[in-house]
Amino acid sequence: MKREDDIVAGLLLDEEHLLTLGELSRACCVHAEWIVELVEQGIIEPNGNDLRHWRFSGSCLSRVMRVQRLQRDLGINLAGAALALDLLDEVRRLRRRLSIIDHHQ
């Protein structure tokens, strides 16, 4: 397979380009039921009212991947992983704010 010379243009998953339930579960190599569980736990929030019209953003994808890794590597349950994700997001947000106001220290 020779591809060195080709330039590949992908699809940017932004506000307009979202993933279906099937695409998200395939991208993360998990069963759709598990994604449904993550939605029920409030770990990810799709657009759309019912399962067939659910659409997931790129950030849902990275959250699902992180939950998977946290569960697998650290042996924490879903509620614990959800809490860890929320706290990690908060830490990241605070670090970013800190870097904005506290650049010189």
């Binding site: 940017l12 950030s59 890794r69 990690l88 010189h104």
Partner: protein, 317 residues
């Protein structure tokens, strides 16, 4: 190939119990988990610890490893003894969490063979036709790339099986178009660039997560950018038109009279471009001219004498 001291990697003694090893692993895994840790080289450390635990948690492998003898030093040149695997049966049991392709040559040479087959059976047991797996990778770009768009060459390492069934790491480079307006953490999906399918199964997709390199001037928050803008005391006090670098080029910025240090000036739409572009914030930093010559000294003294200014009025002193 270098000898690896798995006990040292995990910070445990050679006579530690399995429970102590398990506890050490859990502590280190939390400390170095790439999703959690801010430690430098967290990912490399995490893999190293994972590999060490893979050996030490399993009494069979641990016994075999101990069999190499206690005189090896970490980093020492190592060859496995010729009759090394005689008398050991590596069932491959418990090999569920790690990824064989991530382990070192040292590990491979000691425990490699038995694991290839486990790897194969877990990954490739789903019949003759199966879609390839989707892959995930990160791509590191400069902030400027988000302004102008760019092409980035990325190198992917994918574990594959060679014709004899051994796990090999295949390297593949890909030139990827980075669209204008991308933001930190966004995903780009490249259809059909994941693992090849089996039989007539379609290839999987590749997902690339965008990550910005730290920039010397700008800090990024979503679509918005922040930059420190040094101004002189008279520019801040009297107002001025000053030059401001932006990723799209230098612009003129009006500093309003009476601006204090830390004041944020918002430049609408000068952040990361897009349908809904971000803003650029210039944060004023008042820079004092040093009083390192007679003229500057005289000017400061004149201000001290002629300006009725108490910077500590708010403290009541």
């Amino acid at each position: 190939m270098q000898y690896k001291d798995y006990y040292a990697v995990m910070g445990v003694n050679k006579d530690s119990t399995q429970d102590e090893i398990k506890r050490a692993y859990r502590r280190l895994a939390r400390k170095y988990h790439p999703d959690v840790s801010k430690e430098e080289n967290a990912e490399a450390r995490f893999k190293e610890v994972g590999e060490a635990y893979e050996v030490l948690k399993d009494p069979e492998k641990r016994a075999a490893y101990d069999q190499l003898g206690a005189n090896w030093k970490a980093g020492e040149d190592f060859r496995p003894p010729p009759d090394w695997d005689a008398g050991f049966e590596f069932s491959g049991g418990g090999f569920t969490e790690g990824d064989a392709s991530e382990y070192s040559d040292f590990f491979e040479s000691l425990f490699g063979q038995g694991f290839g087959s486990t790897f194969r059976s877990t990954r490739r047991s789903s019949g003759f036709h199966a879609p390839g797996q989707d892959h995930h990778a990160k791509v590191l770009i400069d902030l400027e790339d988000a302004f102008h768009g760019a092409t980035r060459t990325i190198t992917l390492h994918a574990p594959e099986l060679d014709p004899r069934g051994h796990v090999v790491t295949r390297e593949r480079t890909l030139n990827v178009r980075i669209p204008k307006g991308v933001r930190q953490g966004q995903q780009i999906r490249l259809a059909g660039q994941g693992t090849a399918g089996i039989g007539q199964g379609a290839a999987g997709d590749l997902y690339l997560e965008i990550e910005f390199k730290p920039h010397s001037l700008y800090r990024v928050d979503g679509r918005d950018l922040y930059i420190d803008l040094p101004v002189s005391p008279w520019e801040a006090a009297l107002g001025a038109k000053v030059k401001l670098p932006t990723p799209a080029g230098v612009i003129d910025l009006t500093v309003p009279a009476g601006s204090g240090s830390g004041r944020k000036l918002r430049l609408k739409g000068r952040g990361i471009p897009g349908g809904n572009p971000g803003d650029l914030y210039a944060i004023l930093q008042i820079a004092l001219p040093p009083a390192d010559n007679e003229k500057a000294n005289a000017l400061y003294r004149k201000m001290a004498q002629e300006l009725a200014f108490n910077p500590r009025a708010g403290l009541g002193v």
